[in-house]
């Protein structure tokens, strides 16, 4: 059977990462920003898996599990915060949340 070269995986991961990053930059809605961060994290996870596969070690996948867990925790806190923000600002536009500056 043919194996996919590791570089491809890495490229895919980086593309994914880039996508996440760009959407993070262009999105105003905080929820979407959160989602794009998740994409970036998963991209990193993918990169780990690829690397692990390259060296045929479990560590990459272990790392991926950790990342998932962390992402979950992050999202939960994030959503709670977003609720609070919505209560106060009545909007999810991140640019509105700029009371502090200077």
């Amino acid at each position: 059977m043919t194996t996919i070269p590791a570089e491809y995986g890495l490229v895919l991961a980086s593309v994914l990462f880039m996508l996440g990053l760009i959407s993070l930059l262009i999105r105003r809605n905080i929820v979407f920003m959160l989602i794009s961060v998740e994409i970036m994290l998963n991209a990193a996870g993918l990169a780990f898996i690829v690397a692990g596969a390259k060296w045929s070690q479990p560590d990459g996948q272990v790392m991926f599990l950790f990342i998932l867990t962390m992402a979950a925790a992050e999202v939960s806190v994030g959503l709670a915060l977003i609720l609070q923000i919505y209560h106060q600002l009545k909007t999810l536009n991140s640019d509105e949340a700029s009371k502090m500056k200077g």
Binding site: F17, L41, K99
Partner: protein, 479 residues
């Protein structure tokens, strides 16, 4: 897992169990005093354990942790800082209507994360520590839910932190991809083999630096600092400024030394640029800042710059300088924020410069100790900050990194201005009418007052007789 491993790792266990204990006690009955007691006790116990129990000089728990003098020193430092923060937190949260108790859990967990960082020798432990720290910080920053700014700070921190940790992870992944190992030491071995870094490696290190730079709040990842500092409750702000940064610095030092980065000009050069930028940007941002919290945030940016000067200078002296400066900086910062908490009242933090007008005549002692803190930040003799700065300059001169030393000098000259500006405002003669004291028994303030006093004394003591501390650091670093 050997008994030795257990003993070594015990400090982390103690913290964890403390957190769980608090969880239980909350579920039984909410009682601020008790919770507070438990927190203090556990942190204290942890510290005592650390300092009393004899463990071998350097013990490695494969593959994640290493317990050497440096780690232990920073561990102790972080624990003490967390302790003093906890003591300051009591009065602060007592007068606020939100539910206070969970705060302590978060505090302990965040401390745990920071501690993990200091002793980690592996990407996984690094990642774990970092995330424990971050996640608990998200909620700590936004802890005062009623406060709009608190939430705003929280969300900002959350998004940027997540983004940066994504960078961090991706960087790790890349490094892992190249080297096939996630352990610092073996990465170092791999690197020492080749003299020219491959591009992916550079990218990896770059992303790593992004992640770490964010946590340290050095330029150009500094922008969140001011807003978050301002938004967060004061104890949390000081936690951000001290414990979280301290842990990361310790990690950075370890990683840097183990992969011996100072061999690679690209890394050194990058750091140099970042450091110089941080010093300048931090100081200039602080120059005419009207909000003390933000001012301290900006000044912390430049102070991180100072620390990293010694870090780049490297060598034995550099390492000592970093540790010493961390101590001095922690004492000073905690003290400064402690005084802010001490002055804050029910509905708002004392953060605007006008709150300090004529403080010398209203509260001479507070003002005196606050100006001591500020002078220490400015690096004026009789204070710990001076010796710290001296140490750093010494390190820089000894390794003759003249560029950085000159920049350091220039910046401390600039920095003088805004520190003494606060002092000047405190000296101003016209008294503004003393605002009505919050309806609390002063006994609550005793704790924070006490801890501030202790910090001030420590500050001056270290400033005048730094020798004990230096001896301690040396004994820890090079046994």
């Amino acid at each position: 897992m050997s008994k030795q491993d257990l003993l070594s790792i015990m400090p982390l266990f103690i913290l964890t169990s403390a957190a769980i204990l608090i969880l239980f006690s909350i579920s039984i009955k909410r009682n601020h005093k008790v919770i507070f007691g438990i927190t203090i006790f556990s942190l204290l116990a942890d510290f005592i354990f650390l300092s009393v129990v004899k463990t071998p000089v350097s013990w490695i728990v494969e593959p994640l942790f290493v317990f050497d003098g440096f780690g232990k020193f920073n561990l102790g430092l972080l624990l003490l800082t967390a302790l003093s923060l906890a003591m300051l937190s009591y009065a602060y949260f007592e007068q606020r209507e939100e539910r206070k108790e969970e705060y302590y859990i978060l505090l302990i967990l965040a401390t745990l994360g920071a501690c993990t960082l200091t002793i980690s020798k592996h990407f996984i432990s690094l990642f774990l520590g970092l995330e424990i720290l971050s996640v608990s910080l998200y909620s700590m920053i936004a802890y005062l839910r009623k406060r709009e700014r608190s939430d705003e700070g929280g969300i900002k921190y959350l998004i940027i932190a997540a983004c940066s940790s994504a960078f961090l992870l991706f960087g790790m992944a890349l490094i892992y991809y190249v080297t096939g190992s996630m352990e610092f030491a073996s990465i170092g071995v791999y690197l020492s083999a080749l003299h020219e870094l491959p591009i992916i490696m550079i990218a990896g290190f770059g992303f790593l630096i992004v992640g770490i730079g964010f946590k340290l709040g050095i330029v150009p990842f500094h922008m969140w600092t001011a807003d978050v500092y301002e938004g967060a409750p004061l104890p949390v702000t000081s936690f951000l400024a001290t414990v979280s940064k301290g842990g990361v610095v310790a990690l950075l030092v370890r990683f840097y030394t183990q992969v011996n980065g100072h061999q690679h000009d690209s890394i050194v050069g990058t750091f140099t640029v970042l450091v110089i930028a941080s010093m300048f940007v931090g100081n200039f941002l602080a120059l005419q800042q009207q909000n003390v919290k933000r001012l301290l945030a900006y000044s912390s940016i430049s102070h991180l710059g100072y620390i990293l000067v010694a870090f780049i200078a490297g060598g034995q002296l550099g390492l000592e300088a970093v540790s010493f400066y961390l101590v001095a900086y922690f004492i000073t910062t905690v003290g400064a924020f402690g005084i802010l908490t001490y002055l804050s009242d029910k509905d708002r933090d004392a953060e605007l410069l006008v709150d300090f007008k004529g403080l010398f005549w209203r509260r001479p002692w507070t003002a005196t100790s606050f100006s001591a803190m500020l002078l220490s930040l400015a690096g004026i003799p009789l204070t710990a900050g001076f010796v710290g700065k001296f140490y750093i300059v010494a390190a820089g001169v000894s390794s003759s990194t003249w560029l950085l030393v000159t920049m350091l000098i220039v910046n401390s000259a600039i920095g003088l201005f805004y520190y003494i500006r606060i002092i000047a405002i405190m000296c101003e003669k016209e008294h503004i009418e003393v605002q009505t004291q919050v309806e609390l028994t002063p006994s609550i303030y005793l704790i924070s007052g006490f801890s501030v006093a202790v910090l001030t004394i420590a500050l001056l003591w270290v400033g005048v007789f730094p020798d004990e501390l230096i001896a301690l650091i040396q004994s820890m670093l090079n046994p």
